[in-house]
Subunit: 108 residues, 2 copies
């Protein structure tokens, strides 16, 4: 019953790290929206303020702010103020890696 024990080992590893998978799913959930991925991808190229993002996404400034809040809460982006504008940028380079990773899959 070699196969049997392999499966139960996997079962053990997964149930033991259940929280980790919950976290992982939550991370991917953030990338699972076109608006947010576009924002993140744009930010890999250059920091941007809310109105700039709102413009090229063709969605309301309000909608952008809501999405940015999600990204900030998840620590994927950080902000700084420049006069009346708030400039958003990526907190680290993992975002780029994750996007690339997915793009590679899509490219088949």
């Amino acid at each position: 019953m070699e196969k049997e024990s392999v499966v139960s080992k996997i079962q053990g590893a997964i149930t033991r790290n259940s929280e980790l998978f919950e976290e992982l799913a939550n991370l991917y959930k953030i990338f699972g929206d076109a608006s947010r991925v576009k924002i993140l991808c744009a930010l890999t190229q250059s920091e941007m303020c809310v109105s700039e993002i709102s413009e090229f996404l063709s969605i309301t400034q309000s909608a952008v702010s809501h999405q940015l809040r999600i990204l900030k809460t998840s620590n994927l982006v950080k902000t700084r103020r420049n006069g009346k504008s708030i400039i958003y940028s990526l907190t680290d380079d993992h975002v780029r890696t994750i996007i690339d990773c997915g793009m590679e899959h899509i490219a088949e």
Copy 2:
């Protein structure tokens, strides 16, 4: 206006590839559920049938089947029959890469 043109170049690139980002988001949406990530992660270790998955996830066989259908429709998993069982396995190794990529981020 150096900065201005950078932003508009990004805007161009993103709106031009809008469909691609839609696809990307849809891919991540699949990983954005704990049950599905667990299934996918388990399958990186070994192929498994529905009842095995159902057992270690502690969710209904029906729920598992529904999730597996999503994974199959997205071509992330493939199936073969073995007697009364249907054995599920990954279609390729991108899944492993994507999961690793996310795990790396969580590890901080």
